[in-house]
């Protein structure tokens, strides 16, 4: 990074060339007041609070530091009397139009208007508007509350909505002092991400579920990790009186959990936390007595399980018992379950429940691990190739990073997909193909001669595939983001891209990149619109890249041109795989096979955290399969349909009540911290499993401490060596390296043959979906969870076979 010398208030500093003065000053320890400036959003320059005097180059008027890039030799004054007066008047101006109802405002205590006024304002307001905006406060969406009188019209919210979410769901209505934040018909239809509320510096936009719930100074905030998608955002879990009451990426004081998601959270990370205190939580162990499930004590429940599992093992052998976990359980839980299966039950059948559209990890990692991409790889890529899946609905942070890269770094987005995705608005090339034909793209990339054949199979034009291949070839850093649509041989073949599509000549590649940027500029300036078929206009790439501080620094793991981001389905799918909770690694039965084998090969099942009945296409049939088992243990947070079939139910903690680690789709392990004590008598999964193991005669040596469980992981799981919870607490996300791929082990011909065979099987009569799909960010992801939260109430997502079919639960004090 090129540095320049600047002088602020007589002192010399170094700053990255082109950095905004307001950020450069902050790096040097000089804070300039602001409302509209927000790291990483486009410039607004409407509040005029950040004014400074620039003496070299001499500029006669005061300048806004949030729009001024630093240049070498720049001399700036930020603390003169003149500037203080201007700032104070700007604040007075805003306050003259403000209700100052802090005592009843949720933001009070973490309000930037309060802070800036204390810091830079005067204590008197000498004027009052006679006709200020007096729109009454009101709710404008299921999650957003709006009190327009408190607005300072910084437009952070509208910019976040457009630039991060690509929604444009809220906008400024009217102008002058009549301005307020609203929408076309007053009600906001959007992704409900709540980011607009987080970035609002005042009490204008507020979270509905958190309204009047707590004062910021009463909140205990615990940095932890979201338990939903595989991206793994950090969040600050706010609790009051041992209840989880809010979840934010950044609180009003600008504190974040310092994770991989700058200040971003989606609706799921933010508004589903009420599941933690949901009335359907199981709060004590239960045991079956005939038709009924009756509460019991932990000791009774555990010793009964130990006895029954021991009996089944003695009678039918270890392999007659199956262990199934949910992919969202933490590493410690998965590891302990696997250990329990292997060392105590002595069964090969331990598997995390793979959804039908879970990525085929076994094929992807078959010959070792290709370079796995992180969010930073996306944010600093030249080209992003998205194959399959819709990150906007399944992995909202990935979608955010992609938009970021396109908008801020002029990355080129290429999409080859059979499902519609809103990200197409940002794509340079978006090719819609036949369902199930995505594999053919890999063939076309690896072998140019296959292009026509592939295009035919995919139901698109060969030119489109050629264009994709050409751009990939001439880019220097390519991130391949893919969903479950790539399968089998296509996944095995991915590492071959590195040598086949190596950039022929780096200088030529740099020239091609420049040509692209210039062409984008010209396109933006030209008077003729040059729309090409199947190639979308890219409305953002005319913005030249701007250096920023927050994201997009060089990623640590990258010596290769290609890196790959598998869009896994659950928060810890990759972790579960790495912990060995994957039957294919031990030649065991996969979860589905165990379920089908109920009563035959499998006599007893131990299911941790997965509602296999709720997820089944035929819930009745699944119930029947479970009923054939000799013994079924279910440990879960909720009284799911699966739990109702169990002989013993054990209540487990949610992510907010336990400590542990989670590995995201970028193979970064992060620490989940305990924000509140366990609800009811719930216990963490790893602890329960270890207790049963102990009763069955095997002490794992955890001594009841999760740190010891992680120690066992660090000692045995490749890539986790040297890691401890303390290190994760101090360093944040840490990359876990899996043994890297050995391309020489790859039988190229065999892989290509199998790939071609797979392609030949594609149904060429399938219809290419050309429709539009504009669903809420994160919605498809949420549909995977059988939780009823405030958020899910607004989505039509519950299997209607839910509530009415419940078995009778008799509850009385144990």
């Amino acid at each position: 990074m090129e540095l320049v010398k600047i002088t602020i208030n007589g002192q010399e500093f170094e700053a990255p060339k082109g950095e905004l003065l307001i950020e450069a000053a902050e790096m040097a320890g000089i804070y300039l007041p602001r409302f509209c400036h927000y790291r990483g959003l486009t410039a607004q320059a409407s509040c005029r609070l950040c004014v400074v005097r620039v003496d070299n180059p001499k500029i006669p008027k005061l300048q806004t530091a949030c729009t001024m890039p630093v240049s070498d030799g720049m001399i700036v004054t930020t603390d003169s009397e003149e500037i203080e007066t201007v700032r104070a008047s700007m604040i007075e101006f805003l306050l003259s139009n403000h209700p100052v109802d802090c005592p009843v405002c949720d933001r009070a205590g973490e309000c930037e208007l309060q802070d800036q006024t204390y810091g830079f304002g005067e204590d008197a307001i000498r004027s009052q508007y006679k006709d200020k905006e007096t729109q009454l406060e009101r709710q404008i969406s299921p999650f957003i509350y709006n009190d327009p009188q408190r607005c300072v019209v910084c437009k952070r919210c509208t910019r976040v909505c457009e630039e991060w979410m690509d929604e444009f769901a809220i906008t400024t209505i009217n102008r002058g002092s009549h301005t307020y934040i609203g929408s076309y018909n007053g009600w906001v239809e959007c992704s409900d991400c709540g980011n607009c509320v987080d970035v609002c510096p005042t009490g204008t936009l507020l979270h509905v579920p958190y309204k009047y719930v707590a004062r910021p100074w009463d909140l205990k905030q615990t940095p932890t990790i979201c338990n939903f998608c595989s991206d793994g955002c950090s969040m600050l879990a706010g609790s009051r009186s041992e209840k989880l009451v809010r979840s934010v990426a950044r609180d009003g004081r600008g504190r974040t959990a310092g994770g991989i998601n700058p200040d971003f959270l989606c609706a799921l990370g933010r508004y589903t936390i009420d599941a933690v205190h949901h009335e359907d939580r199981i709060d004590r162990p239960m045991i079956r007595r005939g038709e009924h499930l009756v509460p019991t004590t932990w000791d009774d429940a555990l010793s009964y399980i130990a006895k029954r599992l021991g009996e089944v093992k003695a009678q039918h052998g270890g392999n007659s018992i199956g262990v199934i976990s949910a992919a969202r359980l933490l590493n410690e839980d998965q590891f302990t379950l696997k250990k329990f299966a292997a060392e105590v039950l002595e069964t090969k059948n331990a598997d995390f429940y793979h959804d039908e559209d879970e990525i085929d990890l076994a094929s992807f990692f078959k010959n070792g691990s290709p370079t796995i991409a992180t969010q930073k790889h996306i944010q600093s890529a030249d080209t992003i190739l998205l194959i399959g899946s819709d990150p906007n609905e399944e992995n909202p942070l990935t979608a955010f990073s992609v938009r970021w890269a396109v908008r801020r770094k002029s990355a080129r987005l290429l999409m080859v997909n059979s499902v519609a995705s809103r990200l197409e608005r940002q794509a340079e090339i978006a090719v819609r193909v036949r369902p199930g034909s995505e594999n053919a793209l890999i063939a076309a990339l690896l072998d140019e001669n296959l292009t026509n054949e592939a295009a035919d199979v995919m139901g698109t034009l060969a030119e489109n595939l050629k264009a994709v291949r050409q751009i990939v070839l001439e880019s220097e850093k390519v991130v391949v983001v893919f969903g479950d649509e790539l399968r089998g041989a296509a996944l095995e073949a991915l590492p071959l891209l590195e040598s086949v599509l190596a950039t022929p000549d780096p200088e030529a590649a740099a020239a091609a990149r420049k040509a692209y940027l210039d062409a984008q500029q010209r396109l933006a300036q030209s008077t003729q619109s040059t729309a090409k078929p199947a190639i979308n206009e890219n409305p953002y790439s005319n913005i030249t890249p701007q250096p920023t501080l927050e994201v997009g620094d060089e990623p640590v793991r990258s010596a290769t041109k290609f890196s790959y981001l598998p869009l896994m389905r659950y928060s810890n799918s990759l972790g579960a795989f790495q912990m060995g909770m994957d039957a294919l690694q031990t030649d065991g039965m996969i979860a589905q096979a165990m379920l089908v084998g109920g009563g035959q090969a499998i006599k007893a099942l131990y299911i941790a955290g997965e509602d296999v009945v709720g997820k089944a296409e035929e819930p009745k049939g699944m119930k029947h399969l479970l009923s054939r088992l000799d013994f079924l243990v279910v440990q879960d947070m909720f009284m799911t349909q699966t739990a109702r079939q169990a002989h013993v139910i054990l209540p487990t903690t949610s992510f907010a009540e336990s400590q542990g680690t989670q590995t995201n789709n970028g193979s970064q392990v992060q620490l989940v911290r305990r924000a509140i004590p366990p609800v009811g008598q719930a216990r963490p999964d790893w602890m329960i499993t270890a207790s049963i193991a102990k009763m069955m005669g095997k002490d794992f040596g955890y001594q009841g401490a999760v740190k010891n469980a992680f120690k066992a992981i660090a000692e045995t799981v490749p890539g986790y060596g040297g890691l401890t919870h303390n290190r994760l607490a101090n360093e944040g996300a840490i990359l876990v390296e899996m043994p890297s791929v050995d391309v020489s082990q790859l039988n190229r011909k065999d892989v290509m043959d199998r790939l071609n065979a797979e392609i030949a099987r594609v149904n060429r009569h399938a219809i290419v979906n050309l429709g539009e799909l504009r669903d809420k960010a994160g919605s498809r992801l949420h549909k995977r969870y059988p939780l009823i939260t405030r958020y899910s109430n607004i989505l039509p997502l519950h299997p209607t076979n839910g509530k009415e079919e419940l078995a009778k639960v008799v509850m009385f004090p144990a």
Binding site: F168, R175, Y184, T527
Partner: protein
């Protein structure tokens, strides 16, 4: 949505610009002329026609005082209320019109003739205070001149 001539005009405006959305201002005038004000349907229709989002159209409509989202009187009496006009006494003009016609700001007379509005700077500060009646400007306005103008229009 609009009459064939007006649809043609919109096509004509679109052809003037590199991107469709740039035609939004003239298109909104057409909508307003045709329907008297910008209706909900107009906003949705123009958003589709010009590749915009409804919120973007709404933002533009509400930003400019020349457009209205509510039915309006035949004549719009728009008094500038920004600083120069304020100093030059625009308040008195507003009050005067209000008393004379018996309507408050943003109201329309029962006969549907006049609507009184306050607007932001009209760009004629040197000749403040300014009253705009539909597309005509009246500078350095006084209560007496206001009476004359209104009488003429009655």
């Amino acid at each position: 949505m609009f009459s064939p001539e007006n649809e043609k005009k919109i096509d004509e405006y679109i052809s003037h610009y590199p991107v469709k959305r740039s035609a939004i201002l003239p298109a909104l005038h057409i909508a307003q002329i045709e329907h008297g004000y910008v209706t909900d349907e107009d906003v949705q229709y123009l958003a589709r026609r010009l590749d915009m989002r409804v919120n973007e159209v709404e933002e533009v409509v509400t930003f400019y005082s020349m457009y209205s989202r509510k039915p309006m009187g035949e004549y719009k009496l728009q008094v500038c209320r920004t600083i120069s006009c304020h100093i030059a006494g625009c308040d008195k003009i507003t009050e005067h019109i209000s008393d004379k016609l018996g309507i408050k700001v943003n109201e329309t007379t029962p006969d549907g003739k006049f609507t009184l509005q306050e607007v932001e700077c009209l760009g004629y500060c040197d000749l403040a205070p300014v009253l705009q009646v539909n597309f005509d400007y009246h500078e350095q306005i006084t209560p007496e001149r206001t009476d004359e103008i209104i009488e003429k229009l009655k």
